[in-house]
C-alpha cells in the first residue's frame, strides 16, 4: 500500500496516525506541498482533487480525502462507534473538521510556518482566519468541557481527525492553553497506546 504523503500536512498525519493505531504497514512517497506544479502528472489518475493524502491500495485502487481514508480503514474497528447515533456524531465532527477547522487552522499554519512566505497572507484575510480558528477552539472547548473524547467514551476517528491540526495550532499563532478542555483532550489523545507523533 502506498501513501502519497507530506510529513507536515495534518491531513496526511491523520491517516498515518490511524494506520499506526491499526498496525497496518504501508510505503510513503513524499509530495511537495509548496511547489504543486507536478500534481496533475503525479496524482491526476488517482485523485480528482490532486491533493495529499492520496492512498493507493494493494490492488492499485486509489482513495483520496483524508477523512474518507479514515472511514475506509476505521470501518469495523473500535474507532467507529457501534451505535448508529454515535456514528452519526462521529461523521458530524469529521465534516465539521473539513468545513471549519481545517480551513482556519491548517491554512494560517501553512502560510506562517511552511510556505516559505510568512508574509504571503494579507492583513484582512489573516485576521479572518485567526478569528475563525479561535471560534473553532472555543467550540471544541465547550464541547469537551464535560467529555473525555469527542464522541462516546473512547477514541474514535473524530478524535484522530481533529487532533491532527489542533495539536499544531500554535504553528498558526493560536495558544491552545487558553482552551483548557482542548489542552486536556490533546494530552489524552497523545497518551493513547499506539499513538505516534506527526514527525514519526
Amino acid at each position: 500500500m502506498l501513501l502519497y504523503d507530506s510529513p507536515v500536512s495534518g491531513n496526511c498525519y491523520k491517516v498515518r496516525l490511524l494506520l499506526a493505531h491499526l498496525g497496518i504497514p504501508y510505503e510513503r512517497r513524499t509530495v511537495d506541498v509548496v511547489d504543486r506544479s507536478n500534481r496533475r502528472e503525479l496524482l491526476g489518475e488517482l485523485n480528482p482533487s490532486l491533493r495529499v493524502p492520496t492512498l493507493v491500495l494493494d490492488d492499485g485502487r486509489p482513495l483520496g480525502e483524508s477523512n474518507a481514508i479514515l472511514c475506509y480503514f476505521g470501518e469495523g474497528t473500535l474507532f467507529v462507534p457501534a451505535d448508529k447515533y454515535e456514528r452519526a456524531q462521529m461523521f458530524q465532527w469529521l465534516f465539521y473538521e473539513q468545513y471549519e477547522l481545517e480551513p482556519a487552522l491548517a491554512v494560517l499554519r501553512f502560510w506562517d510556518t511552511y510556505s516559505g512566505r510568512p508574509d504571503g497572507l494579507s492583513g484582512e484575510r489573516r485576521e479572518e482566519l485567526t478569528k475563525a480558528g479561535h471560534r473553532v477552539l472555543a467550540t471544541l472547548d465547550r464541547h469537551l468541557r464535560d467529555r473525555e473524547f469527542l464522541v462516546g467514551d473512547g477514541l474514535t476517528l473524530a478524535d484522530i481527525s481533529l487532533y491532527a491540526y489542533t495539536h499544531v495550532a500554535h504553528e498558526g499563532g493560536w495558544d491552545v492553553d487558553g482552551y483548557p478542555a482542548v489542552r486536556t483532550w490533546l494530552n489524552r489523545v497523545a497518551a493513547e497506546p499506539g499513538h505516534v507523533p506527526i514527525d514519526a
Copy 2:
C-alpha cells in the same frame, strides 16, 4: 422529527431531498440565513457549529452537518453502496463537497442572490471563488464523462449531496452548460423517481 431549515440553503435541500427519496416525514422550522443574531439561542444546545440544517430526532437527540445527516438516514439503504471501496468513494465525494465545492459555489451564490448585498463580496475574493467554482465544475465534468453517477451505477448520497449546490450554480454566476457531463448528470439526478426540487 424536526428540521431547522432554510428553503434556499443547498445544505438543507440535501437533507430534504434524501428524506423525500426515503419517504420519511418531518416538520420544518425556517431559520434566517442572513440575520444570524439568534443562532446561539435557537441552536446552541443542538449544534456546536450553530448552522442549518440541524435535525432533531423524534427522541430529542440532535444532529448537525448536512452530510452527516445524510449518512445517518442513508445507512442500510440503496443510497449507500454495499461495497466497501465504493462506500469509501462515496465518502470521498462527500468530504470533497464540504471542502471544495460548497465553499466556492455556495458562498458566491449566497452573496449574489440571497444576502441582500450583492456587492458585499470584494473583487479579489469574488474572482478567487469564481475560479474555484470553475475548478470544481471541471473536476466533476472530467469524472462524469464516462459515468452515469458519481460512484458505482446508481444514485448514492454523493449524488444527492453534490447535486444540491451544483444545480443552482448559475445563481453564483457559473454556466454549467460549459460542462456537458455535469449538465447530463444533473438532468439524470433530477429524473430519478422520488426527486423533489429545492423549492418543494
